[in-house]
């Protein structure tokens, strides 16, 4: 009996090229599993972004366009609306980092959420700019040492970070908004359920759905994979609490 196989939505023979212990691989695999389960692969168009998340199309076996840095939600808006104008409904989602979604692209992200674009955004929050070597980003927590906050993030000098999911939940056009983590099996199962719900809400035409995934960055955090996961469990998820911030079906 076969108990496990690679999701169909993952390209054959692909090997994740992320750093050891990075949660990107898990997140992409969850997305692929949900695409399979909802039978979306042949109707989906993914929007990759700048940063480590750009590698999405190396692994995911769906049509994919890479957006300029920060513009994934604007590109997704164009893709979704164009297909609707051509009388097709495509399943459209973005896969972005926190720098892409909540810093350089905050305007595009927030306005897509406000308009209630019927798309899904997945945001990997690893509290720094990973690909460029771990600089201070919009989600770097207070006190966190990064390549550009060598003495730790400081209120007076750097200012505060953004609680992305909490802000997105305030937008009227949002159907579903949650924050998940991947530091243990229970959380991974929960994360998959939330991604699935977000995708289903788009299928049902309910508006903008959003999942923020707390992710490790062992290389830049200078921690081992297990220490990095422990950091999420004990520190990061206390600052960025897990949970559902908006669900129009329950609110």
């Amino acid at each position: 009996m076969q108990v496990y196989s690679v999701p169909k939505s993952i390209k054959e023979n692909s090997t994740f090229t992320f750093c050891p212990g990075c949660d990107h691989g898990v997140a992409i695999k969850l997305v692929a599993e949900v695409l399979d389960e909802l039978n979306l692969r042949e109707n989906a168009i993914a929007i990759a972004s700048s940063g480590c998340s750009v590698l999405l199309y190396d692994f995911l076996d769906v049509d994919c366009i890479e957006a300029p840095h920060g513009r994934a939600c604007a590109v997704a808006t164009g893709v979704k609306r164009a297909h609707r104008a051509l009388k097709n409904d495509k399943f459209v989602f973005t896969y972005q980092g926190d720098g892409d979604f909540a810093s350089i692209g905050l305007a595009e992200s927030m306005h897509s959420a406000l308009r209630g674009e019927n798309i899904t955004a997945i945001c990997i929050n690893n509290t720094n700019y990973g690909m460029t070597g771990g600089q201070l980003g919009p989600t770097t927590v207070m006190g966190q040492v990064t390549a550009t906050s060598p003495l730790g993030r400081n209120r007076q000098y750097h200012g505060f970070p953004i609680k992305t999911a909490e802000h997105i939940a305030l937008c009227e056009g949002v159907s579903f908004c949650s924050r998940v983590a991947l530091y243990n099996v229970k959380n991974i199962i929960n994360a998959k359920a939330q991604i699935k719900k977000a995708f289903e809400y788009q299928q049902q035409g309910l508006g903008f759905s959003f999942v923020e995934i707390l992710s490790t960055c062992p290389t830049n955090w200078k921690l081992s994979p297990s220490e990095a996961h422990k950091k999420i469990e004990e520190e990061i998820s206390k600052i960025y609490p897990l949970g559902i911030f908006k669900d129009i079906k329950n609110d």
């Binding site: 109707n43 995911l60 076996d61 366009i65 300029p68 590109v75 808006t77 097709n88 595009e108």
Partner: protein, 356 residues
Amino acid sequence: MSEKQLLKGNIAIAKAALECGCSCYFGYPITPQTEIGEYLSLEMQKRNLAYVCAESEIAAINMALGAASSGAKVMTSSSSCAVALMQEGLSYACSDELPIVLVNVMRAGPGQGYIYPSQGDYNQSTIGGGNGDYQTIVLSPCNVQEVVEMTYKSFYMAQKYRNPVILLVDGLLGQMAEPVNFINNPYEEIDNSSWRLDGAKGRPSREIHSLEPEQNKLNQHILKLSEKYRYIEQNEQDFEEYLCDDADIILTAFGTMARVAKAVCNHFREQGLKYGVFRPKTLYPFPYKRLRELSIKAKLFIDIEMNLGQMLRDIRLGVLSNAQVSFVGKPVGDWLKKEEIISAIENIAKECHASL
């Protein structure tokens, strides 16, 4: 559709876009092109087409990028300082080989400048402000009838070459109304089924991206784009000539300024001086070939622009060294008048006139 209508340039662009099947428009208001978006907002909603009041020009060009990947015909429009915000998107669209029509109805710059008309975006359009080896096709109409024809041509060339096309319109022409004979779109449809993203059903998945970590692959990609640009340069140079065949002195101008140049040319012809007018209709690819031929006979070229000499560089590159090149221009505002140009030329061409 054959009855003549008095149409503003901006409205003519919007109508022509609908006529040739534009199904997506994304834009942000800026004078003097706002009527394009205003007109399309109702017409596209009525037809269930895609229209988004974008939060910025950056968002607008990126929405256009996404929409173009679907194979739909896509347009955005803006003006000068806001087209500056779209330069990144244009560079991506060139690398991604996505067909986008960008209408730039020019206003005064640099910076915020003002809403006065100008032709100050020649360099921005033909050279571009984005990164890397890329080229956008640039068309320049001189009257509202041509605005319609070139809107059709913009969509066609964008699809044919899978490249952004800039329709570069003088602010004056966007705001001005002239009688238009609304001809049907003469261009064939281009099949895009081999590249568009419409879901990986019954075929391998497709990727559209400009990122390429492998150096060789990236070089190959850029060289392939370059080959396309060289092909466009060989095959798409377009221009209008007015009394150039026997001309000793040729006035060069683009857009509406070329009309004033014709009036100036008529004035000197009446005095028995052999003037002509050469007007590039494609600013990229620039019609160097014909300009070079004309410079075998013509002794003097006088470039006239509503800027401080942006096309002048291309004129200098185009004419042979035996011919002189001179310039009459003004940065922004009320168009240079026929009389102003005539008196400027009488100074410039004094010696040349005496020798003729």
